[in-house]
């Protein structure tokens, strides 16, 4: 188990370096007029050169990358009561080129928004996908099955941007049931906007929009898995033992059919935490996706790198968590 963990962590490091390096290189392959942006539109040639030098952009790419990486992983001793006890990585993502704010602060304020969207979205899509998938699998070819599979097809085909716009127009603008933009903090009540109720109220449409595609994909996957599990020999064994159908379903079919869903969930949560660009853009949520989109538009490399680092980290962590969870729920993996 320990060896497995070490191997996983080492692989994660390799993955991390590859991902950040590729992002860095791509960034320098894309033409940009960063100097004009940083120094201002009416700036002179000399001012621009100075700005470039100030940001370190006149150095070779590998030097810049090395500086970036070192700032991130440099060991910093942690003091407890004045005594250094252990070291932690420095975890400094640098400053924004354009705005000069620390990227760490930007990520720190954007991550909770994206996390709200993703975790709420996961709950919404599971609440939709589980009943649809299971009921369709139990009654294949029934009206219920065909109707839900039609919705699944729509969910997979329709783009989140389109769904978002339709929802915002119908439920937000026409019916006026839900707000169509902005984010309310869960904890800090800031005037009328804040606290759990306002937070959830503002998140309803984003959650739905974000969840639809995944709900469709998951419903289809759950349906297929449950249908397959229903034909397994051990399900027949359970029936031959005299188990009631509800028990067969719960204890024998679902336990096995939902194992792959757990894997998918880990993957999708990790990816989602990198920013749900479409949903955040439509509902004007100041999350990582929106931050990333703006940073790309302004060729603000440190912010782009910050989001990439955060997303990579989230994906690695969630995959590891799911692997550990798997060892707990699937006995076949536990011992091998």
């Amino acid at each position: 188990m320990v060896r497995y963990l070490i191997r996983r962590v080492l692989w994660a490091c390799v993955l991390f370096i590859v991902v950040t390096l590729v992002t860095y290189v791509i960034f320098y392959l894309v033409p940009n007029d960063l100097a004009a942006k940083v120094a201002g539109q009416g700036s002179s040639q000399a001012q621009r050169a100075r700005a470039i030098h100030y940001l370190g952009l006149d150095r070779p790419v590998y030097v810049q990358y090395e500086k970036f990486l070192w700032r991130l992983v440099k060991p910093v001793p942690v003091h407890v009561a004045g005594v250094p006890v252990f070291v932690r990585p420095n975890a400094d993502l640098g400053r924004s080129f354009v705005r000069a704010t620390p990227v760490n602060d930007l990520i720190k304020s954007a991550a909770p928004v994206t996390a709200s969207l993703v975790f709420g979205g996961v709950i919404v899509w599971l609440l939709m996908a589980l009943p649809i998938g299971i009921l369709s699998a139990l009654r294949p070819r029934s009206t219920l099955d065909r109707t839900s599979m039609t919705f699944v097809l729509i969910g997979i085909s329709a783009h989140p941007i389109w769904i978002g716009l339709i929802f915002a127009y119908v439920f937000g603008f026409k019916l006026g049931w839900f707000p169509i933009s902005n984010y309310c903090d869960f904890f800090n009540a800031d005037g009328a906007c804040g606290g759990p109720v306002q937070w959830a109220y503002h998140m309803v449409l984003p959650w739905l929009t974000y969840a639809i595609l995944f709900a469709a994909l998951y419903a289809r996957m759950i349906r297929a898995n449950v249908m397959e599990a229903l034909t397994e020999d051990y399900v027949r064994t359970a029936r031959a033992k005299g188990a009631p159908e509800a028990r067969v379903l719960r204890s024998h079919v679902l336990r096995n059919a939902l194992l792959p869903v757990v894997t998918m969930l880990g993957m999708d949560i990790g990816i989602g935490l990198g920013g749900a660009i479409f949903t955040e853009t439509i509902y004007n949520l100041p999350g990582l996706g929106k931050l990333l989109l703006r940073a790309i538009g302004e060729t603000d490399l440190p912010i782009v790198m910050g989001v990439v680092v955060f997303a990579t980290f989230a994906i690695i962590v969630f995959n590891l968590l799911i692997d550990l969870l798997y060892a707990w729920i699937d006995p076949r993996i536990r011992l091998s």
Partner: protein, 340 residues
């Protein structure tokens, strides 16, 4: 009264291509403590017969008729609740593939305890004690500890022992074993059959063994039912099937047994394929493959009738008894010659 009496059992499946007559008028009975062997090729309706008795066919596209009287109660008309009470309690089943018949995510102890608690209102501790007792009875070493292991930690033969333990845990009157040794290697096969026989003596259950292995039948069965294309071809006490087989299909089965004492390059085979049950051949269903086929066979389906001097020996073939006795004697002679 027989423990299980099956009369004119028919199981039809509705498929997109039409109605598949998987079992078409099968009758037999099993006495308490006796063993019935059902023999036939794949797709002859052996397994479906037993799944129908157990009520384990998918209800939606299955049409069943006839009757299956278990202790006088017709299982085919019993409600699902009543069937659930009987299944796993009075009547249990072992399946062909022990590798896939146990749930991979539950320990075998859990699965046996479930079998007990589904039918008996006992504490988990009592159920576990019973489970361990049965695991010991089927020869699982260190049963108390191994009950906490998962199916993947057992070999195929050990898993089949677990399946047998699970089937017998509630002391059923009837045990249906659907090709219990097919998925196992030869040495394990012998162990499992010996185990089943020994347990039958201890528990006094009646057994139906479904198999395509005549060796298994010769060893364990009291009566034999030879099935071909959803119908009964021959039905007789076991020694009669081997000493005086009366159906060309049975001859074919006996002739295709591998023997250690001859140098045959290839096994004798029955030519052709089992027929489609969607559109079975007219007349006798075996006629396209039968070396003794007559014109009559192509038109009239021979009824299952007792042979003249033995009412317990039923067969469905148009051939005259003289020819049959001659052919059976010839087959026996070859066998004897090979044996000596």
């Amino acid at each position: 009264m027989a423990l299980l009496e099956v009369n004119d059992l028919k199981t039809y499946f509705q498929t997109d291509d039409g109605i598949v007559k998987a079992v078409d008028g099968v009758s037999f009975s099993v006495e308490k403590g006796k063993t019935l062997g059902i023999v036939g090729e794949s797709g002859s309706g052996k397994s479906v017969t037993c799944l129908t008795i157990m009520g384990l066919n998918a209800a939606k596209n299955t049409i069943t008729s006839g009757e299956a009287l278990f202790n006088g109660e017709n299982l085919l008309t019993a409600g699902t609740r009543r069937l659930r009470e009987i299944r796993g309690n009075d009547m249990a089943m072992i399946f062909q593939d022990p590798m896939t018949s146990l749930n991979p995510v539950h320990s075998i102890g859990t699965q046996l305890i479930e079998a007990v608690q589904l039918h008996k209102d006992v504490s988990k501790k009592t159920a576990r004690a019973r489970a361990v007792e049965l695991l010991k009875a089927v020869g699982i070493p260190r049963a108390d500890r191994r009950a906490d292991d998962y199916p993947h930690q057992f070999s195929g033969g050990m898993r089949q022992r677990v399946m047998i333990a699970m089937a017998l845990v509630n002391d059923p009157d009837l045990l249906i074993a659907d090709e219990p040794t097919t998925a196992l290697d030869v040495t394990t096969q012998a162990q499992i059959m010996t185990l089943i026989k020994r347990l039958q003596e201890n528990f006094g259950s009646a057994i139906i063994v479904i198999t395509h292995d005549l060796g298994v039948v010769a060893e364990s069965a009291d009566d034999v039912l030879v099935m071909y294309a959803a119908e009964v071809a021959e039905q007789a006490p076991v020694e009669k099937v081997f000493s005086r087989p009366h159906h060309p299909y049975t001859w074919g089965l006996l002739g295709s047994l591998p023997r250690l004492d001859t140098d045959l390059e290839r096994l004798v085979q029955i030519p052709g394929q089992p027929p489609s049950l969607l559109r079975p051949p007219s007349g006798c269903r075996f006629h396209p493959r039968c070396p003794y086929v007559m014109d009559k066979c192509k038109q009239i389906d021979p009824p299952l009738t007792p042979i003249s001097d033995d009412p317990a020996h039923l067969q469905a073939c148009h051939l005259d008894e003289e020819t049959k006795d001659r052919e059976a004697a010839k087959l026996l002679e070859v066998t004897m010659a090979q044996a000596s």
